[in-house]
């Protein structure tokens, strides 16, 4: 049975009807038209669906809408805009990071939370922090450059 839920996404409240067990990913994509989180594995293994819940990187494919509550949801679209970009978005464009770009929600949303909490991280700290995010095209070198560039902009 569907129920009504109110979600705060990228600063605005939205009311949706959904089965309580529906993963947040499908509500964002199909009900709210926020296509940026992607389905990659549905298993919490790759990061392509990552959003922030109250600032914490979360696999939206693993979080039922009934377990979102009043936590504030931020997607890649809510992280920054061309006019007011997040430093990681600026760095991603400057470093020309992605190949296919399907994975970028995982990297940018994970790295954004990491850089918020960790000033001037070392190379090893960045690698460890991002160890569970997948990129199949092999853009890891450019990702490292971009995260370091963003860290410098933020630090």
């Amino acid at each position: 049975m569907t129920k009504q839920f109110t979600l705060n996404v990228n600063g605005s409240d939205h009311t949706v009807e959904a089965d309580p067990d529906t993963p947040l990913l499908y509500v964002l994509r199909d009900d709210l038209g926020l296509n940026n989180p992607h389905f990659g594995c549905g298993l919490g293994q790759c990061g392509a669906c990552t959003v922030h819940l109250d600032g914490k990187p979360t696999h939206s494919c693993q979080r039922p809408i009934s377990a979102v509550g009043d936590k504030k949801v931020v997607t890649l679209a809510g992280l920054g805009t061309p006019e007011h970009p997040h430093p990681l978005q600026t760095a991603y464009v400057q470093e020309q990071v992605p190949q296919c770009a399907y994975c970028i929600n995982g990297w940018i949303m994970s790295a954004a939370a990491f850089l918020r909490d960790k000033e001037k991280p070392t190379d090893a700290q960045i690698r460890t922090a991002l160890r569970h995010v997948k990129c199949r095209c092999g853009t890891h070198m450019a990702i490292l450059r971009a995260v370091k560039r963003a860290a410098a902009m933020m630090g």
Binding site: D30, N35, H38, R127, A142
Partner: protein, 761 residues
């Protein structure tokens, strides 16, 4: 930055507004307007047929003078669309930012082969360059007529044709043809796909005059993706669309014998689509479709697919009857020379099945309306998919419109084309547009696989240690068990599960090198697939098809011979490499790495962590790459860190060094992943590599510390492929470095911790 217009908002036969000026009537077949004829050149107010022999099929000029390029290949994220725009802008003498490109749409481009074999620039760019040069020639002729000056006294600057001696005597492209179409015949070679070539009369520019080609221009598709404004194929929605999911058997080759539709009766509007072995569900909501696919009660036939124990896979390949044998280069008399050799060195190498394992599994949207079919897909080959859809849906090809939209990575014949065919069957059956996305286990477990193989190599040495004969044989599953595209139902899971006649193709490959051994033979043999129909181990093209496995063997073996002769691996290669460009990349990589001449292995290390360096090089078509890897091996865990790479790359003329640099770097990292981690696991029922835990790939902590790249530019040599070439030498470069570090030669990929640890013990 502008938000990309959603492809979903284009309706078939609608008007495509390019740059807000030119209105291209897609697919119009109206007669040309003779009023616009000028001598030698014709402008038309309606578009000539979209055929390869028409200039308008490649180039158009908007009313505001911006230039549209229509390209029948795709950019899978390597910056090809920027490179093509550079080539077009260069030949037409228009500023780069006054060009637009439309790619992979069957209504606006001809079949140039799609993404295929790293031919985007090599073949696709060559055609676009000739078309743009011809467009310029026509425009200059039109200007000559209009200005009353001979064409050879005219120059083009920024899209304005003017007298060379007096820039005030001028007319712009926009004034000459803006908003109308070229109606100019090209000398088409009659071929479609990669070999399509249709030059005009124009001679293209001399590369020494290039101002735009060669510039490191950035990609403009990155910002929309980073700001979540770009649609991927999986993001397209159309009104009335339902969501589909497929159901695959737990035991390969099993087919449904009973399907209990009542088991999903509680899911709103969930429907079953079942035809022989084809089984899928649709529902209005995506989560409902996923739940229905899980919940549906299905009774499957008894099945026991002929899969060997994984541990005996390579024995199976050795013992399986050869279905086709092909001999490549053959010089001298190999067999006789081996009989009289002073010494023979032999080795055998093994490479596993690998999965594309794209970041997202296949996804396609198919809409069938009034006999017309529209499909959005991340396929590599939209035009071939058009043919496949026409076949599986039994409609004329002209009624099928395929719109390529960027997808989740693309490295060959992945699950993308299977997904289109499955979506088409679902859409036809339920009478609604269907967006079908596979689940992770289907993307990894059921995609076409890079073939597993063994490689036997031997070298004959004379008494002085010269290599006098060389014999290389690959034996493995075919690279075209299913074909490189989905143009025929037999090559898709939909066709195979519904029982169409099969025809498995045979193909493998040869090493690409210029080693000048006096007696030399290279050959391959293919064997039948383990399971002929709807197999999760059907084999097909995956990035640098069979290149990594062949050169894992050939370049490991060269190293083995060098070591046997106590020779430095670079010096040994330089002793036998004959092609000057091959020699140049080997030397350039060695110089970049600061290579110290000495034989492998090192014998000066103790402790758990040891380091080593290794080189490998290869030709891939006209492209040459040498790769030096520096690795660390933890002998206690078997873990390898491929810490540094030094790459020298020669693909002729460099169109865009920015795109090239990323292409090389990403190839190196992905190939490192394939070398160290990737192996499709299976049991006697099915493939058991179904997610990122069971099919691990390289993760960030093991990304290299450094990838240094030397890009050798040869403006005098036609540009050749760079999309895959750098993948080719990486496996052997790493393996040779592991040998240098440990003294142990590993001949089976992947060099996973378990494999390395057991090899070292």
């Amino acid at each position: 930055m502008t938000k990309h217009e959603k492809p979903a908002s284009f309706s078939r036969r609608a008007l495509l507004k390019a740059g807000g000026a030119l209105v291209v009537t897609i697919g119009a077949r109206a007669a040309i307007d003779p009023a616009h004829a000028t001598d030698g050149a014709t402008a038309a107010t309606t578009k000539p047929p979209l055929t390869p022999d028409q200039l308008s099929s490649y180039i158009a000029v908007n009313a505001d003078g911006t230039v549209c390029a229509y390209f029948g290949k795709m950019d899978m994220g390597q910056g090809l669309s920027v490179a093509i725009r550079q080539m077009v802008a260069e030949e037409l003498d228009v500023p780069f930012d006054r060009t637009r490109i439309y790619i992979g749409d069957t209504d606006t481009s001809v079949n140039q082969g799609g993404a295929s074999g790293s031919t985007g620039i090599q073949d696709g760019g060559k055609q676009m360059r000739m078309a743009a040069a011809e467009a310029r020639r026509i425009l200059v002729e039109m200007a000559a007529d209009k200005l009353g000056l001979p064409a050879d006294q005219l120059t083009v600057t920024n899209g304005v044709v003017h007298a060379t001696s007096d820039a005030t005597k001028n007319v712009s492209y926009a004034e000459l043809i803006g908003g109308k179409f070229f109606n100019v015949h090209l000398d088409w070679n009659g071929k479609y796909g990669n070999p399509l070539y249709a030059p005009g009369k124009a001679k293209p520019k001399n590369p020494k005059d290039y101002a735009i080609v060669g510039q490191p221009l950035p990609r403009d598709d990155i910002a929309p993706k980073v700001f979540a404004q770009a649609d991927f194929a999986m993001d397209i929605k159309v009104p009335g669309m339902v969501h589909g999911r497929m159901i695959r058997p737990a035991i390969a080759s099993a087919v449904p014998v009973k399907v209990d539709e009542s088991s999903i009766a509680d899911i709103p509007n969930a429907k079953v689509v079942w035809d022989k072995g084809f089984l899928g569900v649709v529902a209005d909501k995506e989560w409902d479709a996923i739940k229905a696919a899980k919940q549906l009660k299905v009774e499957w036939s008894n099945a026991s697919p002929p899969f060997p124990d994984q541990a005996t896979l390579y024995d199976h390949i050795r013992q399986a009857p050869t279905r086709k044998r092909e001999v490549g280069k053959q010089t001298g008399n190999v067999d006789e020379t081996f009989k009289t050799a002073a010494r023979v060195i032999e080795a055998e190498y093994e490479w596993p099945f690998q999965s594309h394992a794209r970041m997202g599994p296949g996804c396609a949207l198919v809409e069938i309306k009034d006999g017309h079919v529209t499909c959005w897909t991340g396929t590599q080959k939209a035009h071939f998919v058009q043919t496949g859809l026409a076949s599986i849906l039994q409609v004329p090809q002209d009624n099928v419109h395929v719109i390529w939209t960027t997808g989740p990575g693309s490295y060959g014949r992945s699950d993308a084309d299977d997904c289109v065919a499955d979506a088409a069957v679902l859409a036809k059956t339920v009478g609604k547009p269907v967006r079908l996305q596979y689940m992770r286990d289907q993307g990894t477990g059921w995609d076409p696989k890079a073939p597993a193989s063994i490689h036997r190599v031997r070298a004959a040495l004379d008494a002085s240690g010269n290599v006098v004969a060389y014999d290389f044989l690959s034996k493995g599953f075919s690279r075209i068990d299913v074909d490189t595209n989905g143009s025929q139902p037999k090559d898709t899971l939909a066709g195979q599960t519904m029982g169409v006649a099969l025809k498995s193709g045979d193909g493998f490959g040869f090493p690409g090198d210029s080693y000048g051994f006096a007696n030399k033979r290279t050959a391959w043999e293919t064997i039948a697939p383990l399971l002929d129909r709807a197999s999760p181990l059907r084999s097909a093209h995956m990035r640098d098809p069979v290149g990594p496995q062949i050169h894992f063997a050939s370049e490991s073996f060269i190293d083995e011979v060098a070591a046997a002769l106590n020779m430095d691996p670079v010096a040994f290669r330089l002793r036998y490499a004959r092609d000057p460009r091959d020699i140049a990349v080997i030397k350039a990589a060695a110089e970049k790495a600061g290579w110290q001449t000495r034989p492998s292995p090192r014998k000066d290390q103790s402790g758990d962590t040891v380091a080593g360096r290794g080189i490998a090089y290869a030709q891939r078509g006209p492209t040459r790459v040498a790769v030096i890897a520096e690795v660390e091996v933890d002998r206690s865990t078997g873990r390898i860190w491929a810490r540094k790479f030094f790459v020298a790359h020669d693909c002729g003329l460099i169109i865009n060094p920015n795109g090239l640099h990323h292409a090389i770097e990403n190839n190196v990292v992905q190939a490192t992943s394939r070398t160290l981690w990737e192996e499709v696991k299976f049991n006697n029922k099915t493939v058991t590599s179904v997610d990122w835990r069971t099919y691990p790939i390289l993760e960030m902590p093991e990304a290299p510390e450094q990838v240094d790249i030397v890009m050798i530019d040869h403006p005098e040599i036609a540009p050749s492929g760079a999309g895959e070439a750098a993948s080719r030498p990486v496996p052997a470069a790493i393996t040779n470095a592991v040998f240098d570090a440990t003294g142990v030669r590993i001949r089976r990929a992947p060099l996973s911790p378990a494999n390395v640890k057991s090899s070292l013990s």
